[in-house]
């Protein structure tokens, strides 16, 4: 979903087979920097061993928290249960699967990707005990999605689907991977199977809702998300908070800020400090021109979920709030860290493209990264960023092709419409430009792009009027 939690689109839907509703689309952005909570852990062969240790450490911490009366999150509880089951019977492979799944869910709760490394380690143990066991393979797919290894996840999900075509969750994995890779037809087919095989299942509803959003049916998306919310157990507080946040995001898309804020406050009550909700509430504040409040929210989010694209959103808000010195430092830190990740599957390339195109005035660097990313995936948001990098580099015709490919999916997003308008203008297609600017304003007159879109539209209208008068005069 574009922009939930900022400009990031590194959605990585996944689900929890251990949960009764084995959940929702998962980590909209479930990446975190492990340094904050658990110390820097590289993705290396050492990770597996470290992960197991960390899993036990985490479990111990959870038990300690429970002893002190601190309420554990749903994922923390599941981690503790799985650890106890492993201690009782270390040769039961399913317990390691359950631990891995709980760790993956914890990654979403916290946005800390080190949990994925721990999940991988637990899975390794599971596969030692029972090679190729289906539940383990499903968790592995979930984790691959969480790590943004979308192509690998799709390949595995396809094989699992052939093996067990009745498994609803595997269709969910297929939908997730295909959405991220931009294969929307295959994603839709998979999501439709989810709805058909088990009507009303929550993971199917949330995925179908996301596709509806991508296809431009925002009201329809809200309808399905509401159904998903009603069917989610109250005890699943993070799941419920996640759904509330998604509905709020859909309201933000159409400028319904009061509705969005109400839902986000509910989400934060259900799951205090929830990083997705903080990011969306910051968007509400930005739309309300309350930049300082947005900065505070994004700062809070970054403290809890210190990954690099969250820093970019914070830097933008700082700039808007007039705190230029801190904004500059944040941008610099963002660039330094994001550049390290360019070649990783899990990266901040989208933000980096916009940074180079809009802030650093280095369009060729933006374009280089955009081409790299577009070679990996062709989803709406990657195409949007690619188009913008082409635009910034003066390659307007190609920019037009890319942005129109993105819009052909059906997505309705005021920022995309604005960028399509700007690109059309440079392509000397004033009619298309005016149409796109108008679509942007009609959809959300309070979006971040509304001011520039309005000015551009006004200018076009004035020019048209001038030409009309000149034509009348000459005739």
């Amino acid at each position: 979903m574009a922009g939930i939690g900022g400009t990031s689109t590194r959605a990585s839907p996944a689900a929890d087979p251990s949960s009764s509703h084995f959940a929702l689309v998962a980590a909209r952005r479930s990446r975190g920097r492990e340094g904050i909570l658990l110390g820097e852990i590289a993705m290396s062969p050492m990770t597996a061993a470290a992960g197991i240790l960390l899993a036990f450490t985490t479990s111990g911490a959870i038990r300690g928290a429970a002893d002190k009366g601190v309420k554990a999150s749903p994922a923390e509880q599941k981690i503790a249960w799985a650890q106890q089951a492993i201690e009782k019977n270390p040769s039961r492979h399913q317990s390691y699967n359950e631990l891995a799944m709980a760790l993956a869910r914890r990654a979403r709760e916290t946005s800390d990707v080190s949990f994925y490394a721990q999940a991988d380690a637990a899975l390794e143990k599971s596969f030692q005990l029972a090679p190729d066991n289906l539940e383990g393979e499903k968790v592995r797919t979930w984790v691959l999605l969480g790590k943004h290894e979308f192509a690998k996840a799709r390949e595995l999900a396809r094989a699992l689907n052939k093996r067990t075509p009745d498994d609803v969750l595997i269709y969910g994995f297929l939908a997730d991977a295909n959405i991220e890779l931009g294969s929307y037809d295959e994603a839709e087919e998979a999501a439709q199977w989810m709805l058909d095989i088990r009507p009303g299942n929550v993971p199917g509803l949330t995925r179908a809702a996301y596709l509806r959003e991508l296809f431009g049916d925002i009201d329809g998306s809200i309808e399905l998300m509401n159904s998903a919310y009603q069917q989610t157990q109250p005890a699943e507080t993070e799941d419920r908070a996640w759904i509330l946040t998604q509905i709020a995001h859909l309201h933000i898309l159409t400028g319904k800020l009061a509705d969005a804020e109400k839902l986000l406050q509910q989400a934060l009550t259900l799951f205090p400090g929830y990083h997705y909700a903080l990011g969306n509430l910051a968007q509400v504040r930005i739309a309300q021109r309350q930049y300082s409040k947005a900065v505070e929210l994004l700062r809070q989010r970054y403290e809890g979920a210190p990954h690099v694209e969250n820093l970019y959103a914070l830097a933008e808000a700082l700039e808007r709030s007039g705190n230029l010195g801190e904004a500059k430092a944040a941008y610099r830190e963002f660039e330094r860290r994001a550049c390290k990740e360019i070649a990783w599957a899990d990266n901040a390339n989208r933000e980096l493209i916009f940074y180079y195109a809009d802030h650093a005035r280095q369009p060729e660097r933006a374009l280089r990264i955009a081409r790299l990313e577009a070679g990996r995936r062709r989803d709406v948001h990657t195409l949007d960023a690619y188009a913008w990098a082409l635009y910034a580099s003066g390659r307007f015709a190609e920019a037009r092709r890319q942005i129109e490919s993105a819009l052909a999916v059906g997505v309705r997003d005021s920022k995309l419409f604005y960028r399509a308008g700007a690109i059309a203008l440079k392509s000397r297609d004033r009619l298309a430009a005016a149409r796109y600017f108008k679509q942007s304003l009609d959809l959300n007159p309070r979006s971040e792009s509304a001011g520039v879109a309005r000015k551009a539209l006004l200018r076009l209208e004035q020019q048209a009027s001038t030409r009309s008068r000149a034509g009348a005069h000459s005739s």
Binding site: R163, D166, E188, D196, I197, G200, R212, F215, L224, G410
Partner: protein, 518 residues
């Protein structure tokens, strides 16, 4: 020692087999239908129609197709009884050009109404005049229900029938324009004259098309010893001394002479049945009655149930989904999904189209259940090895059902019927169908009295279509239930009366007609 090892093996082997075959009537065979009884197809039948005075080799003229749904209806189970679900689209489909895609489809939709909404039960009735509040002329209980206009038929259902052919929808309507009514479950003799309702609910030879239709709660035409099957396949020991293997006497093939040696667990239960009888010319590709040797004589029939679906794309957005209905179940042969398809694929099978069945080909031509049985028999029962090409007539257009020059088409679960083969007179018909020497019986179509359990055991596991495997005990496999508990009609819709709720009888082991307990 060898005997001691081999003797129990067949028991277990057949047990496993039968426990699967028990599902051959499709009672809750897949997870999704176990959760949705109303949409659960129990059986599909298709056969050349016959009559009470049928002569041998009488040229075929019509085909009857029956779709039964909603299993194990206990007719005493009021007060709402068992209406068809107005939210379900019931369909019977026919492929006539060997591509496993429907060329002729019959759609059935139901509507419900309450004639006496304040009355507590779906049906009520007594006597010729009904019952009055004492000392008044206020009617309290309506007269016995003998027709569909009696207000005692409180929950009254009507239905529509539409034939879709070449994309053209043709409503099938009653001769006088009145609606088609469904026949309710038989609550009991005080409440209704079920036989009269059955007659009134049989709409024969509708003008312009010659089609006949029927829908209602009837006897479940299927029979089997389910109780033994689900007690971890604890089948009765009959005359042969080997459970699941019949003696010649127990294996009487002629249906009207056969009797039961084990209990029919489905006895006394009803099922919701939709039946349609159609002139053959409306079904074949050529629009003519084809001789049995013609490739165009053989059609493929299957039934399906579908519910409205939530689609990813809402109307009026262009939808890439397959329309507004999601198929809950489909069925052609009585054994495919139950006996052959793996548990992790059953829902996908139920919800996919027959034309896509190649994805299940491994299940069809190398059924895992056969290997299990072979292992359990420890060599006492020899079975054919994979690939089971002898099973191709069930999943392609192939001899001995279709003529040799018929295009085989894709692998697909369709009930294949050679419409050119004359019906066998009922008195001479074999419950064992084709393997009993009766060319008009299963797997050439399926009649209501075809013993698909025994046939499936012998063909699917025993491999008796291969001459080398057509020997004892392969050709004597059976559960000991050989006939239905109720008397079938010998004209459309060929089904028996729904047992009456007050006096219905479920025949148990140890009772007369129920076979031994052991």
């Amino acid at each position: 020692m060898k005997n001691r090892r081999s003797t129990p093996a067949p028991i277990v082997g057949l047990a496993v087999l039968i426990s699967q075959a028990a599902l051959a009537a499709n009672h809750r065979e897949a997870p999704i239908t176990a959760l949705d009884h109303k949409a659960d197809i129990t059986d599909v039948y298709a056969f050349v129609s016959y009559g009470p005075r049928q002569a041998p080799n009488e040229p075929p003229s019509k085909v009857t197709m029956i779709l039964s749904v909603d299993p194990f209806l206990e007719p005493a189970n009021g007060p709402t009884l068992f209406p068809f679900d107005p939210d379900i689209l019931y369909e019977i489909k026919v492929d006539n050009d060997h591509d496993a895609i429907a060329d002729v489809t019959f759609r059935f939709r139901f509507s419900s109404e309450y004639q006496l909404p304040t009355v507590y039960t779906a049906v009520a009735g007594i006597g010729d005049q009904g019952a009055f509040q004492p000392g008044t002329d206020i009617l309290v209980v309506p007269p016995q229900i003998r027709d569909f206009n009696n207000p005692g038929l409180n929950l009254r259902q009507t239905y529509t029938v539409t034939m879709v052919k070449n994309g053209v929808e043709t409503p099938i309507v009653n001769n006088d324009g009145s609606p088609f009514f469904t026949v309710p479950a038989n609550a009991g003799p005080r409440t209704m004259d079920y036989a009269a309702l059955f007659r009134a609910g049989t709409y024969s030879n509708l003008c312009t098309t010659g089609i006949s239709v029927f829908a209602g709660t009837t006897d479940d035409a299927f029979w089997i010893d389910l109780g033994a099957a689900f007690d971890t396949a604890n089948f009765r020991t009959l005359g042969s001394g080997v459970p699941g293997v019949l003696t010649d006497e127990e294996d009487e093939p002629i249906y009207v002479r056969a009797r039961n040696f084990a209990s029919d667990t489905v006895s006394g239960y009803g099922v919701n049945s939709i039946a349609i009888e159609v002139p053959i010319e409306l079904l074949t590709r050529t629009g003519a009655i084809e001789p049995p040797g013609s490739p165009d004589a053989t059609i493929g029939v299957w039934g399906s149930t579908s519910r409205p679906r939530v689609t990813v794309r809402r109307s009026p957005n262009p939808s890439q989904s397959r329309g507004p209905w999601r198929q809950v179940q489909r069925m052609g042969n009585p054994l495919i999904n139950e006996l052959l398809v793996g548990i992790g694929s059953k829902d996908r099978f139920s919800m996919d189209q027959p034309a896509n069945d190649s994805q299940f080909a491994d299940f069809f031509l190398d059924p895992p259940i056969v290997h299990i049985v072979e292992a359990l028999y420890a060599g006492a029962l020899s079975v054919p090895s994979a690939p089971r090409l002898d099973l191709l007539p069930l999943v392609t257009y192939a001899p001995p059902i279709a003529s040799p020059d018929t295009p085989p088409g894709p692998i697909a679960d369709l009930l294949r019927l050679n419409t050119g083969v004359p019906a066998t007179p009922f008195e001479q018909a074999s419950r064992l169908g084709l393997i009993g020497g009766d060319h008009a019986g299963y797997p050439n179509g399926r009649r209501v009295f075809d013993d698909v359990t025994d046939i499936t055991l012998r063909v699917g596991v025993g491999g008796v279509l291969i001459p080398d495997f057509n020997h004892f005990p392969n050709n004597r496999l059976g559960d000991g239930v050989n006939v239905n508990d109720a008397e079938y009609r010998t004209s459309f819709p060929f089904l028996a009366d729904c047992p009456n709720g007050r006096n219905r009888r479920h025949i148990d082991p140890g009772e007369p007609g129920g076979g031994p307990i052991q």
